[in-house]
């Protein structure tokens, strides 16, 4: 979910484009299965984290909302805190 939010930060994309951005960004480490991707998009749209802006042929194009941006930053902060905790623990345990 974090990667999906991240991918939407700087543009409007379709589901397929998001899958490709995430795969490229993580150098193939993270691959979004189609069902996972569409469940995330459905859930994000329902929660107004994303909104559909237009359609391009078969594709639906989404953009992130302010709520989504806030959610991304919250999530990022939590992850940073996790990494900081991990670093502290490793340092203290030496």
């Amino acid at each position: 979910m974090f990667y999906t939010l991240m991918a939407f930060l700087y543009g409007e994309y379709s589901g397929a484009e998001i899958a490709s951005i995430v795969e490229k960004l993580t150098k193939g480490r993270v691959r979004l299965g189609p069902a996972t991707l569409y469940t995330i998009l459905g859930h994000f749209e329902e929660e107004q984290i994303l909104m559909e802006t237009r359609t391009d042929g078969r594709k639906r194009i989404y953009r992130i909302t302010d709520k989504g941006i806030q959610m991304y930053h919250d999530e990022r902060e939590q992850l940073a805190q996790c990494l900081a905790d991990s670093a502290t623990w490793e340092e203290e345990s030496k």
């Binding site: 589901g15 397929a16 691959r31 979004l32 299965g33 189609p34 069902a35 569409y38 995330i40 078969r58």
Partner: protein, 377 residues
Amino acid sequence: MKYCYKRPAFDFYDTVAMECWLSDMAKRGLLYTGNNLEYFRFLKAEPQNICYRVEPTTNDEMEPSDEMLSAYTDAGWEFVAHQGNQFFIWKSTRPDATELHTDPIVQSESYRRLCKKLTRSAVGTGLCVAVISAMILGGFLASDRPVTLFLTSPLYIFLAVSELFIVAQVVQQARSALRIKKMLADGFSLSHKKDYHKGYRVYRIMNVLSLLFSIAVLVTALLTLTTDWRKSTVDVTEPLPYLSLDLIEQSKEFDWADPYPIYQSNVDYNNFVDFTWTLLVPEHYKIHQVGAEQSHMWSDDSGYYKPSATTEYCRLTFSAFAPALLNELMDLHLLEGETYTITEPDAFDRTVLAVNEEYSMSHLFVQWGNRPQSYSR
């Protein structure tokens, strides 16, 4: 193209079991193509290795969107069919197909939506069950013969058992979906491998019992329509479980009342026999007897003496119901506000003799094993 229909011997909402079952069917040359009500339609073909995925739908649509179809196709999956608005079934023969779900937490979200739909449907089912239960209960409460109604109306039992089965099914479905949702939410991916033969013995037994029960009740209901009868007593050739009025009266003056046919029927409604049966009451006779008016008066001078008697005889499948039925017969025949002299002679399993002096009426109630009977004169 040849098709065959099968019904899985496990709960529909156990999606992993469903995937394994569909794959096993494909290995046997039966390719799943869709559903007809609760039956799965299979195309007969060469045995194949096909991987199936049962995916809860994200909304109430019956078909995946074009965008979804395109994304799934790129990932190596082909849409097969939908099951109501709850599941899309996908298949793949490509070993390099991307797994549909790569994140169990996200997948749990689709099961959360499924559980929500199931909750809505459970509420609807619960309301229907409550309404039908109220109707059944109301029928029993309104009846002056609830025990007889229970024993002689297979429809009531059928409805009650069907309701129990429906409730059990809804609970089972909810349990299956919740179990998968919890597992995914805890971060465990689905293994997509399951021995669906195990763990569903009770479910299969329940299914078979329910089917047998439904068949038995429906067959009985149809049979009783054709085998119940009403005849004039003189036309009955088989031995009847009753005491004939002439033997009781022991009077030279006794004679039977003239035949009294109603609506051009052949039945003498003065002296006739009703016979009905059900699985719980294999024999149920009601025998009505009326004698001709005699020359002497009733003891209260209310008119000329005219003897009559009614016998009700039941043979029950389960003798446990006999005492309740006998009590019900007594409640039915002994009127409130009337005075009876009641004696219980030490005969049979239970014998009650109630005599109403005022109206010269006597009632004999006898229970002998699984045979409760009443005799009113």
